[in-house]
């Protein structure tokens, strides 16, 4: 696996907000077909990393490659190149219908009949969205909004799906549902990079994981190894430390 070209590669990424350094040289690789999770506490720089990949915050230095090719510097070009982000806090378009939200996800595409196929596909992943097709997104429950946000990202037919805190503010049972669907989405050919505070849930889903602490990646490894790692256990898996962790 290590010989192959990673589908997404971040090299020595630095991002600052004024005087505050948010990322201090982050490097990671995601291979085709993988689910990779990045875990870390609030403020570690997880969302910043995702936004830097999407070109929503300017990079101070560092490179990002998609299949060995430099990633574009404008958000809309990044989407066309095949990366799509489900942002933290879902950010569905509340005054638009579920259908219109999904069509927004397909905005850069011109292949109209394929869009119809993908609509059927995301409805098969999240049948509840089909029932609520004409409803305003703002009237959906938190879990349904998260499903919509993920489905909306999938409508651009991404090679790599970035997910920023998909479990945020959701009931454990809904989180389970959503993570099961993520597994299915992955098995249907979408590579996933996931950042989560809910470390246990994320590592149980992913193949590999990274630990991000105040702008640095301090650990990486196979998810099972990280789950078994006493340091990780202590800092991120203890039930008191993370919000929304499902107790076993």
């Amino acid at each position: 696996m290590s010989a192959a070209v990673p589908i997404l590669e971040v090299q020595d990424l630095h991002v600052s907000y004024g005087a505050i350094k948010a990322l201090r040289g982050v490097s990671l690789k995601v291979y085709e077909g993988e689910i990779v999770s990045v875990i870390g506490a609030n403020g570690a720089g997880k969302s910043t990393m995702m936004q830097a990949i999407m070109a929503q915050v300017p990079r101070e230095s560092g490179q990002i490659y998609l299949e060995g090719k430099e990633l574009a510097s404008k958000s809309y070009q990044v989407v066309t190149q095949g990366i799509s982000l489900t942002p933290e806090g879902r950010r569905v378009f509340a005054p638009l219908s579920v259908y219109d939200n999904l069509m927004m996800g397909a905005f850069p595409r011109k292949d109209r009949h394929k869009i119809e196929e993908d609509l059927t596909w995301v409805f098969s992943l999240f049948p509840r969205l089909e029932e609520r097709r004409e409803q305003y997104a703002g009237t959906l429950s938190g879990g349904e909004q998260q499903m919509l946000a993920i489905a909306r990202s999938l409508m651009s037919r991404p090679r790599v799906l970035l997910l920023d805190e998909p479990s945020l503010g959701l009931a454990p049972i809904i989180i389970k549902d959503i993570f099961r669907e993520l597994k299915r989405i992955n098995s249907e050919g979408v590579t996933i990079l996931l950042v989560e505070q809910n470390a246990r849930q994320a590592l149980m889903l992913s193949h590999r994981g990274y630990v991000l602490q105040t702008g640095n990646l301090i650990l990486e490894g196979r998810s099972e190894e990280l789950l078994a790692n006493p340091e990780v256990e202590e800092a991120y898996l203890g039930t008191g430390k993370t919000t929304g962790t499902v107790k076993k």
Partner: protein, 293 residues
């Protein structure tokens, strides 16, 4: 009774011209969350392009009108690119955009003072203004009816654009959350240019009708204050609100002029504004401020 009907038609006609201006202003507000004070400038640009095209290319209102709308549209895009884009790329503070727009408003006004002179100009009689009798009940002018029809046509076209097209959908999404619209693969700068083009285009329609109604001069853009008031009464950022607010304002002005005194028109307009701000600060169709983050 006759006066009532007549003034109602006049009020709707004036209100519909306000609506053309208010809708563009509100559209810009909904995307960038600042009051574009240069909006009145777009209207003046439209008016002058129409005037000079008529003077130089003969009295064909269709050619002059088209040149005016498109020219004002591109001027609005240029204003955005020159004055607002550099600011919004550096900061999220919309106050700076507001201040820049005040500056652009002064710049545009003075360009016309220098180039065209400060005097009042009457547009050649290209829009019929002869009196029209409505079922023998009231008398109004063909101009009022035409301006009402033109406004309905352009507002309807805008509505169709927003509901039926892909970019219309993107604009509606961006009005709720511009940043997330960018994540969907929308070229945000292009979207903002389209919005400014539409705003300038519609302002020019209003500009032509206002030039005929009041004559054309560089400060004609000041009349947009009425459209601002209308947009605030209707709810900033809401397009139906802008239309309803404009009609209320047009009717209030004309009914005051017809039944009390035309001197009191502006008093009534600003009283309506103050009452709205006291009773329902978010306007008739406005979103709750707390809802928009």
């Amino acid at each position: 009774m006759e006066t009532l009907l007549q003034q109602t038609i006049n009020g709707l006609s004036l209100g519909s011209v306000y609506a053309l201006i208010a809708v563009g202003y509100s559209l810009v507000y909904s995307i960038l969350l600042f009051s574009n004070f240069a909006h009145g400038g777009f209207l003046v640009i439209g008016g002058y392009i129409c005037y000079f095209t008529l003077k130089s290319l003969g009295f064909n209102i269709w050619i002059a009108g088209f040149a005016s709308l498109v020219g004002a549209g591109f001027s609005a895009v240029l204003t955005e690119r020159l004055a607002y884009k550099p600011i919004r790329e550096r900061t999220n503070v919309t106050l700076y955009l507001l201040i820049a727009s005040m500056g652009m408003s002064i710049v545009i006004e003075n360009i016309f003072v220098i180039v065209a002179g400060g005097r009042f100009r009457a547009l050649p009689p290209v829009i019929p203004t002869h009196p029209v009798h409505i079922f023998g009940l009231a008398t109004t002018s063909a101009f009022d009816i035409l301006s009402l029809l033109a406004a309905v046509f352009f507002l309807g076209a805008l509505q169709l654009f927003l509901i039926k097209t892909k970019w219309g959908l993107a604009i509606r999404a961006a009005a709720y959350d511009l940043r997330t619209a960018g994540l969907m693969g929308v070229n945000v700068n292009l979207l903002i240019s389209i919005v400014f083009f539409v705003a300038g285009f519609l302002a020019a329609v209003g500009g032509i009708f206002l030039s005929v109604r009041y004559t054309l001069y560089p400060q004609l853009g000041m009349i947009t204050i009425k459209a601002f008031v209308a947009a605030v009464i209707g709810g900033l950022g809401s397009l139906p609100g802008a239309v309803v607010g404009s009609l209320i304002l047009g009717l209030a002005e004309m009914l005051t002029a017809g039944f009390i005194s035309s001197q009191l028109r502006d008093l009534v307009v600003f009283s309506l504004l103050i009452i709205t701000l006291l009773v329902r600060p978010q306007g008739l169709f406005g979103k709750n401020i707390s809802e928009k983050v």
